[in-house]
């Protein structure tokens, strides 16, 4: 008998009575506020930032001001130029040189300040979102969902994307003597630009 069949047979013999353990209906609990203010508070709690436009700002001028030393600004969106387009980046090794990656997220979660990205936004080069030094995420207020329950119930991406990441602020660690450090091994900063 294969290990698969042995494991399944043992589980069948050993399990508690299924009739005594009903599956509860899907839970949609908690605060249903899908607002921008709640999103921003949550994002900032986890070290994320809001890229705020100044008078007459475009995304390009806001990025130039926020990242004055950036040499390679990679764009994954049609409405922003950058210095290189993500379609022209063909390997993780090439993506590793990116200073700033600009992407558009299909939705955010107000409870957590999380943004979602999948291969659809990353031109199937998923590592680009983690090898870049900084990431700027374009997000629309109308694409906010209230909390984790509503996100999993409503968003089709969880059923269709092969790779789907919820990023909440930049990478972080507190593994050395409990000191919180933003910018561990993935992006050093994550900024949201409202459209």
């Amino acid at each position: 008998m294969s290990s698969r069949d042995t494991i399944l047979a043992t589980l069948r013999a050993n399990r508690p009575d299924p009739a005594a353990h009903e599956l509860p209906p899907v839970a949609v609990l908690g605060d249903m506020d899908a607002g921008k203010a709640r999103f921003e508070d949550a994002l900032q709690l986890l070290g994320g930032q809001i890229l705020l436009p100044q008078e007459g700002d475009t995304l390009a001028t806001a990025i130039a001001r926020r990242f004055p030393d950036a040499k390679i600004i990679c764009s994954a969106v049609p409405d922003f130029e950058g210095t290189i387009r993500l379609e022209d980046v063909t390997s993780p090794q090439q993506a590793a040189a990116t200073d700033v990656l600009v992407v558009r997220s299909p939705f955010g979660i107000s409870e957590m300040g999380s943004i979602f990205l999948s291969e659809a936004q990353l031109n199937s080069l998923n590592s680009a979102a983690h090898l870049t030094q900084h990431i700027v995420v374009i997000l629309s207020e109308k694409n906010l969902t209230a909390n984790m329950h509503t996100a999993y119930v409503e968003r089709p991406e969880f059923h269709t994307a092969n790779y789907g990441v919820l990023m909440t602020g930049p990478s972080a660690t507190a593994d050395i003597q409990g000191v919180l450090i933003r910018g561990a091994q993935g992006v050093r900063s994550l900024s949201v630009w409202w459209e």
Partner: protein
């Protein structure tokens, strides 16, 4: 040869001797516990979330074979190769074969307790595969040749100078670097080239979703996503119990996991892997390693609900003051003490005794495992199986006899006053009395409660009853 039980008490004693490490460890974990409490108080639905999480997990465990089959079918449909491993050896063999087929020599991996269970690095390294842990804490432990001391924060027992020394030896950095920021940056700089040239990647996983064939990985450093997406080969290892039925169930668990673990609302990365990336290959190894047998243990099967948040460890006074390494096992703390004996009853026979039975672990558990009750039940099982050390067994035996006979007990208790105040220290504080090692015995009392009650209340009662009659 019979395996020796882990001497937890002795290892804990060594840990207690080092005041700076002990103080930091205790305070850091208690801080995590307090941050967890703050998050809990922000959510009026917290207790309902725990009940739901527990009910979903119990249902899933009772229907585990069906959900695993459903997961397998969906994962295969999405192009994932699904493997089943009965034990650690089979797991390691499977991983080794996949790597060999690809000619892979450099494996980058994120933290996975299951690969620790399987002792995978020790299997792969002699076969010519360089395994690099990419999680900062786990990497520190790898470089130091130690097991993780905590399931969420593997190097929590170390201080900045310890890390500086380890990095200096391995990364050629300043041995006197006293900045956690610059040490973390050293890890980033050292890891990046390894990540970019690795030919294979590996992650653990927090959840399997039967409905979609997805596995979900919750991390903070970004290293798991790098390990999974930079190389074209991604192998994921998960225990068979980590499954939930529906994607919509993930809401309950994600809302509980990081709040319980670190006191942060969510991990920085919550990643859903449903299939290989473009041009890539994805494998998942479903590991049993004792879990299917544990499901049949009437008093202990609910320990399989565990989502590995570590809240029980952070709150446990024994864990905080003895350190994870003192448990001598992959899983430490209260959850370790109830699952380790299922791996090796004799070796881990001492662990269920590493508890004050205060019940705090049970109270903070996000999936409502009755941890402290299981600790108690394990003690009973271990006594029945004669896995108790001599002194503990004899003392329990004597105590049992004494407490079973009221007259004998009272005589003995009355005698303790004389004993405690007159006996020399060496009679009271010796190897037969481990309780007195770090504590003073209580001050002798002039009169026991029983004698006082007999003299006062019982007398009054008789008098008042006499008056009525």
């Amino acid at each position: 040869m019979k395996v020796k039980p882990v001497n937890h008490a002795k290892a804990a004693e060594e840990f207690l001797d080092d005041a700076p490490h002990l103080t930091f460890h205790d305070e850091r974990l208690w801080d995590m516990r307090q941050k967890r409490d703050q998050q809990m108080h922000l959510l009026p639905e917290w207790q309902e979330l725990r009940s739901r999480a527990s009910a979903i997990k119990e249902h899933t465990l009772a229907n585990l074979p069906e959900y695993l089959e459903q997961f397998e079918a969906n994962a295969k449909k999405n192009g994932i190769h699904v493997h089943w491993a009965a034990d650690g050896a089979e797991h390691n063999r499977i991983v080794g074969e996949i790597l060999e087929k690809h000619g892979a020599k450099s494996l980058i991996k994120s933290k996975s307790m299951v690969t620790e269970e399987c002792d995978m690095r020790a299997y792969l390294e002699p076969r010519g595969v360089t395994v690099t842990e990419t999680d900062l804490g786990e990497r520190i432990q790898q470089l130091d040749g130690q097991m993780p001391s905590h399931i969420v924060v593997p190097a929590v027992h170390k201080l900045v100078p310890d890390v500086a020394k380890i990095f200096a030896k391995n990364y050629n950095t300043d041995p006197n670097d006293d900045s956690p920021q610059s040490l973390a940056e050293s890890q980033r700089m050292a890891a990046r080239p390894v990540i970019l040239t690795a030919d294979s990647g590996m992650t653990g996983g927090n959840f399997l979703v039967a409905e979609t064939g997805t596995f979900v990985v919750c991390t903070n450093e970004g290293n798991a996503d790098l390990s999974a997406t930079v190389p074209n080969l991604h192998i994921a290892t998960l225990g068979i119990e980590r499954i939930v039925p529906r994607m919509a169930d993930m809401g309950v668990f994600i809302r509980l996991l990081s709040r319980s673990a670190l006191g942060s609302p969510i991990t920085q990365y919550t990643t859903h892997f449903r299939g290989p990336q473009k041009g890539g290959e994805m494998h998942i190894v479903l590991v049993d390693n004792g879990r299917s047998a544990r499901l049949g243990m009437e008093e202990f099967w609910t320990s399989l609900k565990c989502i590995r948040c570590g809240a029980c460890m952070n709150t446990c006074p024994v864990y905080r003051r003895s350190g994870g390494l003192s448990y001598g096992a992959v899983y430490s703390g209260p959850i370790g003490a109830i699952i380790d004996p299922t791996f090796n009853e004799r070796k881990y026979s001492t662990l269920p005794f590493a508890s004050t039975m205060n019940g705090s672990c049970t109270n903070v558990c996000p999936v409502k495992i009755n941890i402290h009750e299981q600790l108690y039940k394990w003690r009973r099982v271990l006594v029945e199986h004669h896995e108790l050390p001599f002194v503990k067994r004899e003392i329990m035996h004597m105590a049992g006899k004494l407490m079973g006979q009221p007259t004998l007990y009272r005589t003995a208790i009355n005698g303790t006053e004389v004993a405690l105040s007159t006996l020399p220290r060496f009679v009271l504080y010796n190897w037969l009395n481990p309780w007195g090692k770090h504590r003073e015995l209580p001050h002798p009392v002039k009169q026991t409660f029983h004698t006082w009650y007999k003299q006062n209340r019982l007398k009054n009662k008789k008098e008042s009853q006499g008056g009525k009659a």
